[in-house]
């Protein structure tokens, strides 16, 4: 159905200018096409992965020069030069990705900007290779290539236009496939919340490197296409402004979508042409449009159209009744394999210091399979720090944490997640603009190493295998959200978001589940429902650590209570004893002073 649309549209676009026969329009459309590929590439790194990159123009230049030089100097066929140029650009993207991994936000923007400046300088000053300011001239048309009986001859502007259209379609299909692939979902998860993605088992370092490479790969293709059409390359075509220009196209169109780059590239390429009549005011009008767009439609033209048309994924619905389902069979299998006698999770003499401050001091506790352990304590007692230590957000200063007798302290969060410990967050960290089902799917991926090539090869680009689909459904039924599967996470009510976090955490098939204040902000009805869910999870043999201030819940659902105060364990035992323990009472209510506080004389 969608493919039919695309095919029809492609045909119209391909034929239109041939029918008009106007060289000028054709040239504008070729530029639009090249820019679409370029922006689709930038969309991978900014729109999908959420990393601000300001050097798409540099990769564009690398691709263009590489393709032109491979053909003129090395004497390769265009049909080899184009993919090679794309790979060279991708390699540059990978190389840039390595230092960029450590950086976020404006620091990342700076380093990519620096890369754009350096690339420009290299193109200018490596005269033996690039001929500097004189530029490369007389770049040839693609050579004729025979594919079986068909001869690919693209040696006129009309033919070249068709080549551009064909590659734009390939780029669009590639982007669509990427979005639905496991890698694509992982990238979206990184964009939404990098820490949560890592904790759900996504290898964020590898994924970001792949995103940088893919982004540059698209730019390389666009560069090659540009070189053999324009026939002349000079360094100034690929300066910093070009990178900014590509960014503007993405922002105006709408990052993170497929239609956005098409709209953005179209508008930003065509608008200056239309405004030629008012040449003096061209930049002014263009700037005003940009400011207006950023102020009023930060999601770009795509968001504007969504607002006008309405989008089911982002509309809220009333809350229907929610059934409590069963824990999926796959989960139960995973949990029962744990040995009943030995503790599932053993935290021994664990200490965490931040500078001079000891947030957790030599704390020891254990968790058994099928147990709910309430981990409580006053504000600042070290509960969340403890969860962060167990889930690997930071390593302990001292002590060991063992899962099934194997030490896990010091592993990366994604490795700990894969080992069988999953968690939720005090402040909800869902992938807000992914659907409910996609949130679970990110965590579900069993191999978790992105296998884009493999998925494309087996034709499974449409998404998950059927088993995964049924597991997602089962998990959503467990928390009563099956009917919301296609809605974006941000449209859920607060209580539903908390429940979705639990479903997502369960999707990693954990043996230990760490819940950080799952009842915070929940209504009494929601808390009762949560309690049902907790008991079902416990029944499946998973060990649960419940950090919670809702004492009514924690005291009545936990088998055992561990109380922390000022980073030390002050109690470990049954809930009813905890409520009577003088130490616990003192931690919560304060000490009875031996002498009253008075004003000194």
């Amino acid at each position: 159905m969608r493919l039919g649309w695309l095919a029809g549209l492609t045909l119209v676009v391909a034929i239109a200018p041939l029918a008009v026969g106007n060289q000028y329009y054709q040239q504008v459309l070729v530029n639009v096409g090249i820019n679409i590929v370029l922006v689709l590439g930038l969309n991978v790194i900014i729109g999908m992965t959420g990393q601000l990159s300001l050097c798409q123009g540099a990769f564009f230049g690398i691709g263009a020069y590489a393709s032109a030089l491979l053909m003129t100097r090395v004497g390769l066929s265009f049909w080899l030069s184009l993919p090679l140029a794309a790979l060279i650009a991708a390699a540059a993207g990978f190389a840039l990705g390595i230092p960029a991994l450590r950086l976020r936000g404006h620091y990342l923007a700076m380093i990519t900007l620096a890369f754009a400046v350096i690339t420009h300088q290299v193109l200018q000053n490596w005269v033996e290779l690039t001929r500097g300011h004189s530029g490369l001239v007389r770049i040839p048309w693609p050579d004729v290539m025979a594919v079986g009986p068909v001869e690919l001859a693209v040696q006129s502007r009309e033919r070249y236009y068709l080549l551009v259209v064909a590659l734009v379609v390939v780029a669009l299909l590639g982007t669509a496939a990427l979005q639905r692939s496991r890698l694509g979902r992982s990238l979206l998860a990184i964009r939404e919340d990098e820490v949560a993605a890592e904790l759900m088992g996504v290898d964020t370092r590898l994924c970001k490197l792949l995103a940088f490479s893919l982004s540059a790969l698209f730019a390389g293709v666009a560069g090659s296409l540009y070189a053999h059409y324009a026939k002349i390359l000079t360094p100034d075509l690929f300066g910093v402004m070009e990178s900014i220009n590509v960014l503007v196209m993405l922002v105006i169109g709408g990052a993170g979508t497929i239609v956005g780059p098409i709209l953005g590239a179209g508008v930003v390429t065509v608008l200056p042409e239309v405004l030629r009549a008012v040449a003096d005011y061209r930049l002014f009008i263009f700037g005003a449009i940009l400011v207006g767009c950023v102020l009023f439609f930060p999601g770009g033209l795509v968001e504007l159209s969504r607002r006008v048309l309405g989008d089911r994924r982002t509309t809220r619905t009333d809350r229907p009744t929610r059934p409590v389902g069963r824990v999926p069979a796959a989960l139960r299998g995973a949990a029962v394999s744990a040995d009943g006698g030995q503790p599932l999770l053993a935290v021994q003499e664990v200490e965490k210091r931040f500078g001079g401050l000891a947030a957790v001091k030599a704390v020891t506790w254990e968790l058994r399979a099928g147990e709910i352990l309430g981990l409580i304590g006053p504000n600042g007692s070290g509960k969340t720090t403890m969860l962060n230590l167990v889930s690997g957000v930071y390593p302990p200063t001292r002590g060991t944490i063992c899962l099934d007798g194997r030490p896990i302290s010091g592993l990366r969060p994604s490795a700990i997640s894969q080992a069988g410990i999953s968690r939720t967050f005090q402040k909800i960290r869902l992938f807000r603009r992914l659907t409910v089902a996609e949130n679970v799917a990110v965590a579900l991926a069993p191999g978790r190493v992105p296998k884009l090539a493999g998925e494309l090869w087996r034709g499974r680009i449409v998404g998950l295998d059927p088993d995964a689909g049924s597991e997602i459904t089962a998990l959503l039924e467990l928390v009563g959200l099956a009917h919301r599967a296609d809605h974006e996470a941000r449209t859920l009510s607060y209580g539903e978001q908390r429940l979705l976090e639990i479903a997502r955490a369960l999707a990693t098939r954990p043996r230990v589940l760490l819940l950080d204040e799952p009842a915070a902000g929940l209504s009494a009805v929601d808390v009762a429902f949560l309690r049902e869910v907790l008991l079902r999870i416990q029944g499946s043999g998973i060990g649960t650590v419940l950090v919670e201030h809702h004492m009514e819940l924690v005291m009545h659902v936990s088998h055992r209570i561990v109380v922390l105060d000022h980073g030390e364990k002050i109690f470990d035992g049954a809930p009813q004893k905890a409520q009577k323990d003088p130490g616990v009472l003192e931690a919560y209510l304060g000490a009875d002073a031996d002498q009253p506080v008075t004003v000194d004389a």
């Binding site: 099928g370 147990e371 709910i372 006053p378 504000n379 600042g380 009510s493 607060y494 204040e517 915070a520 902000g521 929940l522 209504s523 008991l535 416990q538 029944g539 201030h549 809702h550 004492m551 009514e552 819940l553 924690v554 005291m555 009545h556 659902v557 936990s558 088998h559 049954a574 809930p575 009813q576 905890a578 409520q579 616990v584 009472l585 919560y588 209510l589 304060g590 000490a591 009875d592 002073a593 009253p596 506080v597 008075t598 004003v599 000194d600």
Partner: protein
Amino acid sequence: MLEIRDVSINYDRVQAVRSVSLDVVPGEIVTLIGGNGAGKTTTLRCISGLIRPAGGTIRFEGAPLERRRPAEIVRLGVSHVPEGRRVFPRLTVAENLDLGAYGENTGTAEQRREAVFTLFPVLRERVTQLAATLSGGEQQMLAVGRALMAGPRLLLLDEPSLGLAPIVVRGLFQALLRIRQSGVTMLLVEQNARLALQVADRAYVLERGEIVCSGAAAAVAADERIVRAYLGSEVKTVEASRG
């Protein structure tokens, strides 16, 4: 002096406070206590204009506060000592205090700074130090001192004892009593209930966004409901261990 009527507050899509009413009379120390997540901080933030209430009225000396911006509320005479102190870490003690007197003339600021130094002599010794280099207790004194620089008639204190050693807390609470003697009224949010009840005249106990008990501090201290508010209702059977 402060009159809160049926205030409800939604915070991050959650109804954090439900129909709370409370009064503070001039010269009193009133404490608002309760477990974590009870809505104490949210209530204070609402009084000082950092969050808008979803419903209800807040009046200070007769003037409605619900629609005012935080800076206006400070000028009306209500100062807020936020949870976690929030001193400006890379400014000196003197600069922190001066910022508290934002908009006042230099003479007034000078007088108030002297008053703060009399109250907390240690701040005078540290006057040129960066706030980040102070101990936790000294930072809390600085936060209180900074709030006093605006010359408030009502001081809102959010968990001043948080993270401080008992001996330091004791000194701080003695200072609060002296501040009261100088004519400043206080609304004190505390997790350390027993301590707060010692210095307060009256108390309100919040449990999950609702006031569950209130009255004279001594009476509240003896009330069973306060334990429930912190530790939940009594567990009679071990119902969960059936698994």
